[in-house]
């Protein structure tokens, strides 16, 4: 296995509505990530992007995004219909080949033009689930209910996740939902989809993120303190929510183990928990204790630019390692609903 590190990154502030087009969000983001890595776009060996056509509302939406990468002269490039974290996975695999040294990765999405609850309702089995009108918030509500019924958490626990997220987000210029709230005030709010309240749901966000990877000595040349990817793995579970235990995330546990997480100390953990109960599920899946430094960025409850959210978790860990604030971190990304597909990235300073 070749040593690959994150040597450059950039993200846009997540906002409820960006007036710029998705490509306009990406152009400066990609440029900044390259600049941080001290690379010209023409030096990049492989580019991979993550996005979702249905967010944009048109087929081949990702084709325009190519313009942000600078696809002239022609480039070696690919795209996944998944969060940018998986685009990074593909780029990391490509770098293992040994013939190229650098890769550019980006993820982007504007959730503002559509109703996410409608769009993601089509992200389900088209024969058995979608026609029932199952929407993502209700599904997350069912997961939350299962947690409560199993005695694994309380609504207060959910609210505490939200309070911590907003509090941490105050220090994050890119976060959208931030501030100091009290658990009791939040619990006094009405349900949106019992037992979920508004604070348990992610915001609707527009945003973009870019990452530059480099291999071996090249990484050391480009970056003073690269964030080395010590392990990267992802696993999917069965889709039918009725056929798995929604209160646990065995794929996260498995992905973490395969990524080399041995349960040892972690200075920073960034989890893609888009609903507050999911943070509790993921903490348990990773065996994190109560004092763990989870989501110092505010996490996905503070900003959820779908298709970028997972890659942003990786950036948040990487930048803390690069600055010296952390030595060892874990970033998690998720795909599908109620934690069906999970990716874990272990990052370390040298």
């Amino acid at each position: 296995m070749s040593d690959v590190a994150v040597v450059g990154w950039a993200q846009t502030p997540s906002v409820r509505l960006a007036r710029e087009s998705e490509v306009q969000l990406l152009v400066p983001t990609v440029a900044q990530a390259l600049a941080r890595a001290n690379l010209d776009r023409r030096e990049i060996g492989f580019t991979c992007a993550g996005s979702c056509d249905y967010l944009t509302g048109g087929p081949f939406a990702f084709v325009s995004n190519l313009e942000a990468a600078g696809a002239w002269p022609p480039i070696a490039e690919s795209h996944v219909e998944m969060d940018g974290a998986w685009a990074m996975y593909e780029a990391w695999v490509r770098l293992q080949h040994g013939d190229i040294d650098t890769a550019l990765v980006f993820g982007s999405g504007k959730s503002s033009p559509s109703q996410p609850a409608e769009v993601w309702a089509q992200q389900l089995d088209p024969y058995y689930l979608a026609p029932l009108g199952v929407d993502p918030v209700s599904l997350a509500g069912i997961q939350a209910r299962a947690l409560l019924d199993a005695g694994k958490a309380t609504e207060r626990d959910f609210a505490e996740v939200a309070v911590r997220s907003r509090h941490n987000a105050v220090d994050n210029p890119n976060a959208q939902v931030k501030g100091d709230a009290s658990v009791d005030a939040l619990l006094a709010e009405p349900y949106v989809r019992a037992p979920l309240r508004k604070h348990d749901l992610p915001p609707i966000s527009d945003g973009a993120v870019a990452v530059v990877l480099a291999r071996g000595d090249r990484a050391r040349q480009l970056c003073e303190r690269p964030a080395w990817i010590r392990g990267l793995d992802h696993r999917i579970e069965v889709h039918q929510p009725g056929m798995r235990d929604l209160t646990a995330s065995p794929s996260t546990t498995l992905a973490a183990r395969k990524a080399g997480y041995d349960g040892g100390p972690l200075d920073v953990i960034e989890l893609s928990a888009t609903f507050s109960p999911q943070e509790l599920i993921l903490r348990e899946a990773l065996g994190l204790d109560a004092g763990a430094n989870v989501n110092p960025s505010g996490g996905a409850l503070a900003a959820n630019p779908v298709m970028a959210t997972g890659l942003i978790r990786i950036v948040e860990v990487a930048q803390r390692i690069a600055s010296g604030a952390a030595d060892r971190g874990l970033a998690h990304a998720t795909g599908g609903q109620v934690l069906q597909h999970n990716l874990v990235c272990m990052l370390e300073g040298e």
Partner: protein, 381 residues
């Protein structure tokens, strides 16, 4: 040094306009099970799954690979969904190969599919708007430009259309079986995107394709001959920009030269025994022959005219019948790699070309801007 990678199992469905005998999971499993059977292994032997498909809007399901996890034995495994427009089937094989070449996994199942009858691709392509240009509308002006630039006679496109459909008669999986196909029939068929006529255009098919990829040890002990992946490359360029040559896209030229270099090929016309090229509209056969420097400028159509690209010719192109005979969009690119693999393995049955040792597979997508290519051989180099 990268690990070697071989295709040891190939499977595809019977491609049809409507496969109303199977659901989407059923369609994919038909191809996947055939590939696993060909490789004499089961889902349990697979370490990772890579899925490729054209725009989700074609079937109206957001990220359909998610609900297919169970059907493809994917639970507990890594699953990736590649989407690079029409070239996706090819890119899917390449991503699968990378997983093996990097030594991350030993056996990967790559699957690509389209069940267009369960959606509406015309609507999907148009984004629901009026004045949709359909699949051929973007390409017709470039085909016209190729004809004007080279002075090619009008019957070249018709010749390719006939050749591929006659080849398809030898391919039991092909969608179109048109035993009465003839130059006259093609010439008289309805004009769709001037100058492309109905019978010069690909059908809309339901279908799936799957391949099992493995490492050197797996390739050597495979029950049947393996197809060795000697070279892979992808290239993309902007679809629209001043100075673009959409007739001979630079990305296509560079992608081809990358695979030729990796495979040690200096004269493709002589060193490649058969090619499966993504030809959804007849004229793309001469255009890709030139676009990948198999024929010189203005010489591609002459290869067609002289019969070089016939199944019995000196440079057979699309002995399977190609995209012109079967076009489950997401799978079409993978079918090129799968058919190239069958050729070098000697397992292409009635449409087998004699003595194939080296095959070229090519898929393209978008505004002829995405390219995925590979060179496969019957023996590892």
């Amino acid at each position: 040094m990268a690990e070697r990678c071989a295709i040891v199992g190939v499977g595809q469905t019977h491609h049809k306009k409507r496969r109303d005998d199977v659901s989407i999971p059923g369609l994919l499993r038909e191809a996947a099970l055939r590939a696993l059977e060909d490789a004499e292994c089961t889902f349990a032997d697979i370490d990772a799954v890579v899925i490729g498909k054209a725009p989700d809007a074609f079937e109206g399901i957001v990220q359909p690979e998610l609900f297919l996890a169970e059907a493809l034995g994917g639970a507990g495994k890594p699953m990736l969904r590649v989407h690079t427009a029409g070239s996706v089937g090819g890119t899917t094989v390449i991503v699968g190969a990378h997983l093996v070449q990097s030594r991350i996994h030993q056996r990967v199942l790559a699957v690509a599919w389209e069940k267009q009858s369960e959606g509406n691709a015309q609507w999907g392509l148009a984004g629901g708007r009026s004045r949709g240009i359909g699949a051929g509308g973007a390409f017709a002006p470039w085909i016209r430009a190729y004809i004007e630039q080279t002075g090619a006679p009008e019957y070249i496109g018709w010749q390719v259309a006939v050749k591929d459909r006659l080849n398809a008669l030898k391919n039991p999986y092909a969608h179109l079986h048109l035993p009465d196909i003839s130059i006259e029939k093609v010439k008289e068929s309805a004009m769709l995107w001037d100058p492309l006529r109905f019978l010069e255009s690909c059908p809309s098919s339901d279908g799936a394709c799957a391949v099992v990829l493995t490492d050197e040890a797996g390739g050597k002990r495979a029950p049947k001959p393996a197809a060795w992946i000697e070279a892979t490359a992808v290239r993309s360029e902007l679809g629209v920009f001043p100075g673009r040559n959409p007739v001979r896209p630079q990305a296509g030229v560079e992608c081809a030269h990358d695979v030729y270099r990796q495979a040690g090929i200096s004269v493709p016309r002589q060193e490649i025994d058969v090619a499966e090229l993504y030809v959804p509209f007849s004229w793309y056969e001469p255009m890709w022959l030139e676009g990948h420097d198999i024929a010189g400028p203005g010489e591609g159509w002459k290869m067609v005219e002289s019969g070089d690209t016939e199944i019995t010719g000196s440079f057979p192109v699309n002995p399977s019948g190609g995209v012109l005979s079967s076009n489950p969009i997401g799978a079409s690119g993978m079918l090129r790699f799968a058919e190239a693999a069958l050729q070098v393995r000697g397992l292409a049955g009635e449409h087998q070309v004699d003595g194939v040792r080296t095959a070229l597979a090519q898929a393209y997508g978008g505004g002829a801007q995405y390219f995925a290519m590979g060179v496969l051989r019957s023996e590892p180099s």
